[in-house]
Symmetry: C2
């Protein structure tokens, strides 16, 4: 259903219409937010009509659902790789954090969506939760193992994960707060933030 146009059938960059819709929807949901995104506006940006969107997806909710499914998949791949790569202890945390910042640089909308979905609550949040659950489980048990091994300070692993999540995601998505602090959200600044958050996390987590 989504691959009917083939690799070269799309009117633009060789993308399926449904993929182009998901791209635009992801971008708009992540920045303007779900509620503030209208199908008409979405369609206009794609040089389509709203009805064409509703041809590919039965409803606006279904578009969100598809966006979440796709994005959660991409996010999982990006992080699972870092999480399963060799290395232990702090090195592994650093690898994961770095991969989040890599996502922030290449596809900031992915992290913006994560935020937006958390704000929307169920059922969207539930779907995202379920899709990322394996990742969370692995990360949580990794932290626990490290604490058991005595290489990281002891905390409730779930709260620790929430703290890391909040810090990293905040550092990457809190554009307005950044501006409030007089720091323009540029690419250079992103690197600086990465360096800083890594140093911060390191002193918070690592024993010795």
């Amino acid at each position: 259903m989504t691959t009917t146009e083939g690799p070269s059938g799309g009117p633009a960059e060789g993308l399926t219409t449904s993929d182009r819709i998901l791209d635009a929807a992801l971008a708009s949901f992540a920045t303007r937010g779900y509620d503030a995104t209208s199908l008409d506006a979405l369609a206009k940006g794609l040089e389509l009509t709203k009805q064409s969107i509703l041809y590919w997806f039965p409803s606006k909710d279904a578009v969100l659902e598809a966006v979440i499914a796709r994005s959660a998949g991409e996010l999982s791949v990006a992080l699972e790789t870092a999480l399963s790569d060799a290395g232990a202890g702090w090195v592994r945390v650093e690898a994961v954090v770095r991969s989040v910042f890599r996502v922030a640089a290449r596809q900031p909308e992915l992290l913006g969506l994560l935020r937006e979905v958390g704000r929307l609550g169920p059922p969207a949040a539930t779907q995202m939760t379920l899709a990322l659950e394996p990742l969370v489980r692995r990360a949580s048990s990794f932290l626990e193992a490290e604490m058991d091994a005595g290489t990281m300070r002891r905390h409730d692993p779930r709260l620790l994960l929430l703290a890391i999540y909040s810090t990293v995601i905040g550092m990457v998505t809190e554009v307005e707060v950044l501006r409030a602090l007089g720091e323009e959200p540029t690419a250079r600044s992103l690197v600086r933030r990465r360096t800083d958050v890594l140093a911060l996390l390191r002193s918070a987590l690592v024993i010795e």
Copy 2:
């Protein structure tokens, strides 16, 4: 204009109509979000008509503006107190964090609004920024002084502030993430989160 009804003129708890409107708006903006909040729904909850809201405030934007102004004021008071109280170094950071958690327990909408406004961007975010600017300045220079004194690890004070902000606000407002981690957002859990975030921040910041 807002005090015409006097201290006992309100139909319910002795509150001005315009204050009741702001209360309801704050709650709804903070939870459902600005876009998802309609004047009709707001009015219905207050047993008023939408037109009565538009009698007190010229537009929906103006309601948001007023909500931000009032909330930023309350937030400033709560935090300025903690920030200006006696004590130095870590004790003072702890006092501020504790006061944020106190707000989270008594008026969680205040922090929810902070989040929502950051998401909305200008002009709302700019207004909030300006209103909280003195607070940010004081906090930033406090951290810088501590780092100069060698009692806290050296970081870019603004990025450090962003990290602390993200962590604390995240710990307090990321209900869905909390749920995703299998932690129900109860009052008891809030206390645990406070303990945990304090321990975490302490090891991240304090030298020795």
